[in-house]
């Protein structure tokens, strides 16, 4: 620790740091923003298309491509976790302590911040052998709106990027998990026709998270 200790005194301020001509750094900018500050979806779609083709370079298969998209999203989730909780009113600035609290935070706060609406469903795996699996369902992921997947890569779901964001939020909050995005048709026929791009984010928590959950709940 001592090697990163400060050499205190005024001399340190004259380091090699270069400030913008306005003298304003990121520390001068407010963290709160107005509710209406939305971004153009066209420019996002263009940028996201580029991100996918960037991730596609030198990958061997769909799995690796999804992994790269996931890695691109991961740091975003870590940062959004802190930012969104900070923007909450001080009384409700609570760290999520249980899986349910965390998933609610993701379904409501994170989704609203990113996509302007909540996620459509939150489900727990019905299979008793996998109590560590939870599912966040988005009927129409915004990131996939202008993505058409070629036939030979039918396994690909570019919402792996969003899965990465969710994974980052889970990891940051101390609930290490693997999150993957899957295109799964709705069980009922009417809805399946209505939402062809229905995406399920499968959140699989590590065993130690479930173990802790038992103690935290008491």
């Amino acid at each position: 620790m001592s090697n990163l200790s400060s050499s205190k005194g005024p001399g340190q301020e004259q380091s090699g740091l270069r400030l913008p001509s306005s003298g304003k750094t990121i520390y001068h900018r407010p963290l709160n923003r107005t509710r209406t500050a939305e971004l153009s979806q066209a420019s996002f779609a263009y940028l996201f298309g580029e991100m996918v083709s960037y991730a596609q370079r030198r990958v061997k298969g769909v799995n690796e491509l999804e992994q790269r998209l996931n890695a691109q999203g991961h740091p975003l989730g870590l940062k959004l976790l802190d930012l969104l909780l900070f923007r909450e009113p001080p009384r409700s600035q609570l760290r999520p302590l249980t899986i349910i609290a965390l998933l609610h935070f993701i379904k409501q706060m994170l989704w609203t911040h990113l996509f302007g609406r909540q996620a459509d469903r939150l489900e727990k795996s019905a299979n008793p052998e996998t109590p560590d699996e939870y599912m966040i369902v988005d009927n129409e992921p915004l990131v996939n709106q202008y993505i058409s997947v070629p036939r030979e890569m039918s396994q690909l779901n570019c919402a792996a990027f969003v899965a990465g964001i969710v994974e980052g939020a889970c990891d940051g909050a101390g609930f290490p998990a693997r999150v993957s995005a899957h295109t799964i048709r709705s069980p009922t026929n009417e809805e399946a026709d209505l939402w062809p791009g229905r995406t399920v984010f499968l959140v699989k928590f590590r065993p130690e998270v479930l173990e802790r959950e038992k103690y935290v709940k008491q």
């Binding site: 620790m1 990163l4 380091s15 520390y27 740091p75 976790l81 760290r95 909050a173």
Partner: protein, 163 residues
């Protein structure tokens, strides 16, 4: 009153440290740690991490107040949403004579009084705001040291303002 502030990452790795003294009650902002035991500050802070990990899952508040004490050293903690810990070691100056009723009104003379808790809470809140600004930097990866002199100035300013 002397303070030693450290930010500890998710892998219990130190990310930032800053030492200062009180600016209230005519203090000059210089720390007055005993030179012979000053190097123990880091050990004391790090040894309190075990306690922090127990307390942080018992309540969802970020500010955990005084979590640990070691002789005359008190450790206050703040856990961010991203599981980064802000630890503040505060060491009240031992009064030269018998304690008088006047000295006990100073911030920090009584480390567990509500006034001190509130002052430290405000300090942590301001550091947290700057911390988020630091980590929002797209080039910042989790558990990287924060070396920005602007950040250090901001922490020092928060220390002067509240403690």
């Amino acid at each position: 009153m002397s303070y030693y502030f450290a930010i500890v990452g998710t892998q219990d790795n130190p990310l930032f440290e800053h030492e200062f003294g009180t600016s209230k009650q005519g203090g000059d902002g210089q720390s007055r740690f005993n030179e012979q035991v000053r190097h123990l500050n880091q050990f004391i802070l790090h040894s309190s991490l075990d306690v922090v990990e127990e307390v942080q899952w018992a309540q969802g508040q970020m500010y955990l107040k005084v979590v640990d004490r070691f002789f005359n050293n008190y450790v206050s903690c703040f856990v961010t949403a991203g599981n980064v810990k802000f630890l503040l070691l505060h060491q009240p100056a031992l009064p030269p004579g018998p304690p008088t009723s006047r000295s006990s009104t100073a911030i920090g003379a009584n480390p567990t009084s509500p006034a001190t808790e509130e002052a430290i809470k405000n300090f942590f809140a301001e550091v947290y705001e700057n911390w988020i600004k630091a980590i929002m930097n797209p080039f910042y990866k989790v558990n990287m040291e924060v070396t920005s002199p602007v950040f250090r100035q901001r922490v020092a300013a928060a220390g002067r303002k509240y403690l």
